[in-house]
Symmetry: C2
Subunit: 410 residues, 2 copies
């Protein structure tokens, strides 16, 4: 008999899978058993709004009119120059809308296979053995996976309030003890919280002081897949104008409703990082290469050249947000109104959010417990579903509220 040693971390990750994907798979099984309309699956952030019409018409035209060997051919690993240029124009425009005259060049843009790739590549490019990555709870669970795979030690910083804002004192303590990276995600998955300019300015000040104290550069990774899904009036800040050493990680998954196609990018703003930016960009190129990312899908890069200005129609999300927030609050559930993204973060009526999620399953309500988001006692509800699904789920929520003795306005 031969011995087989496998890396325990990858086996464990593969066997446990992501909690979210596990619930999603359970939903698939349940749908097959009792019918799709009977399962109220709020587990996955799969946009329910179709991609803007121009996306599919552009894809169709590209397929009909392009030379196949060019259309589907290899692309330089940093991306198609015209797509990088279109992205640079959009990012520069965002800077300007935020009152900044920072200019993003196409050479600062590295096109990736979506947000997960953007993060895995950025972390692999930045982390040296012994480096620490700080995460602000609640956070997308895969941050921990990517950071640990890159060799980092993860430090979780709990929020200061039920509005899920950063605990600045804690950030200061952690940062001044030495970190290489702080990841922020605004609008936030899972809470829908949005960091406004004063919050970001305060974080920037803390990081700058920590840099001065430790003598080591600290990067802010701003993970922004939800930045167009905002239910407040101010547009998302252009973070590099607030803190110099920022990498923007972006994905079109949510804004253009293309989560399965894997297309996004990293911006390393050279205008502000000067000499170091080239090294960071080189490290990102090297990390992308070593992780097996040859290039982002060619057809979708070509689509971006023409569709980079497309914006989502968030009307449906706004309606869903209002409906579910007010309905659940009226039933007696404790939730904060989300300012962005398409998630509602609900306080579990019992301390054990996993047990609460299991109880919800009995009503075919699929929710994600907050534990894997780095905080206990909450559940995430993804309201990127059809309006009928949301409406039809309300009686089930009512029963659930009753089971836990909640009393609201109803």
């Amino acid at each position: 008999m031969c011995i087989l040693d496998l890396p325990q971390n990858t086996v464990a990750l593969g066997e446990s899978r992501s909690v979210i994907r596990d619930i999603f798979e359970y939903g698939n099984k349940r749908r097959a058993q009792i019918g799709a309309d009977k399962v109220f699956d709020f587990s996955l952030g799969n946009p329910s709004v179709p991609a803007p019409k121009k996306i599919n018409s552009t894809l169709s035209r590209l397929i009909a009119e392009s030379d196949s060997t060019v259309l589907h051919g290899y692309i330089s690993s940093a991306g198609l120059t015209d797509a990088r240029k279109a992205i640079a124009i959009e990012e520069t425009h965002r800077a300007k809308m935020n009152g900044s005259d920072l200019c993003v060049s196409y050479e600062d843009v590295y096109i990736t296979c979506g947000a997960a790739a953007s993060l895995a590549i950025s972390l692999s490019a930045l982390i040296c053995p012994g480096d620490r990555v700080a995460l602000l709870a609640p956070f997308f669970p895969e941050y921990r996976v990517f950071a640990e795979k890159a060799g980092a030690e993860v430090v979780v910083i709990p929020p200061s309030s039920k509005e899920m804002m950063p605990d600045f004192d804690a950030v200061e303590r952690v940062a001044s003890a030495g970190i290489k990276v702080l990841i922020i995600n605004s609008p936030n998955n899972p809470s829908g919280a949005v960091y406004d300019r004063p919050v970001l300015e305060r974080l920037a000040k803390i990081l700058r002081e920590a840099q001065k104290k430790t003598g080591k550069m600290i990067f802010l990774i701003s993970d922004e897949p939800y930045r167009e899904l905002l239910y407040i009036d101010t547009p998302a800040p252009f973070v590099p104008a607030i803190y110099e050493n920022t990498l923007i990680c972006y994905s079109y998954s949510k804004s253009l409703s293309l989560p399965g196609e894997r297309i996004g990018y990293i911006v390393v703003p050279s205008c502000i990082q000067n000499a170091e930016a080239k090294k960071v960009f080189a490290s990102i190129s090297g990390a992308g290469r070593a992780l097996g990312y040859v290039c982002a899908p060619s057809l979708f890069q070509r689509m971006i050249v023409e569709c980079s200005k497309e914006k989502p129609d968030i009307g449906a999300y706004v309606r869903n947000r209002n409906l579910i927030y007010h309905s659940l609050t009226d039933m007696g559930f404790d939730c904060t109104p989300p300012s962005g993204a398409f998630y509602l973060f609900i306080k579990s009526p019992i301390p054990d959010a996993c047990a609460f999620c299991e109880a919800a399953k009995a009503y075919e309500l699929l929710l994600v417990p907050s534990d894997s988001f780095g905080i206990g006692g909450y559940v995430r509800l993804a309201y990127c579903v059809s309006e009928p699904t949301l409406k039809n789920a309300l009686p089930a929520f009512r029963s659930l509220a009753k089971q836990y003795g909640l009393t609201g306005k109803e």
Copy 2:
């Protein structure tokens, strides 16, 4: 001033880039300077044959007829079940054509973003600290990059002959000293060499004996993106029927001319690895997740459901192969006729293949020196170009032959 420590390996990889991609980028510059028709770029394995017609018609139909949120939505990380089933049927068919009754289940198939992802994920799933990966020179340079990123020590085994066949004695020595993985690539990039069944059986015997001797499981990773591009009569062997612990890494890049779209797969044949296969598959799922691969592009997975049986039209490659092999041989260049893929491996007339490639550049001939393929003294010519490009390049090759005093039949 703040200090910035970056991982030296990713910075170096990013700054050096792949030798092949470097030459390709040089070609892009040169094309802009003197016109595309004046540059004879044989650097990149970008298929010159269009994708089979059914690919683009299927893509167009899927875009026209599907619900956008489903078409572009998230897919389970191992892949779309229907695509995995179509692939399993094809692989089982290949086994049968090879006289084996092995049955590949869809649960053995993990769909990836192309061959590079297949390899990076497989190695990350298998390699524990201290493990060694054996590469048979000449080999695709990125094997080393992926293996080292996964934490392996790489051992290069030179070939036994100018036909680029394995040196079995050397493989035996290396394997019995302890390896975790041997990577094979038949048809081979860069040499076009093909391992026939007796060669594979001999390798299998060596690996089995080494397993017995060391008591540790040895995996054969069979990287097969070129297996349909064959200029001999026997179809590519189904390797798991010859050696049990085989992972098949496949990509549609070359066979369906889709290199920029990033779609391929890994097969972990459960029928032969029994209990261990599940663990390996779990580790592959975990590695894919940790490296940031959420799923392979959705649109292309849906295309595979309908097009998995499509085969390339290799007529153009056959013509190019015959033309370039005979022309260069007649000019006095020393090359072995390739049995598969679309590369010609040419012996450099001087020991320094890099210097020879530089000299070729003066005639606008872009070739890749063999050094990064793990062997000195050769150059790789990718003949997946248009026939006119190949024909128009012949006078330049004639001048190059003259410069080096080669005398052939001409």
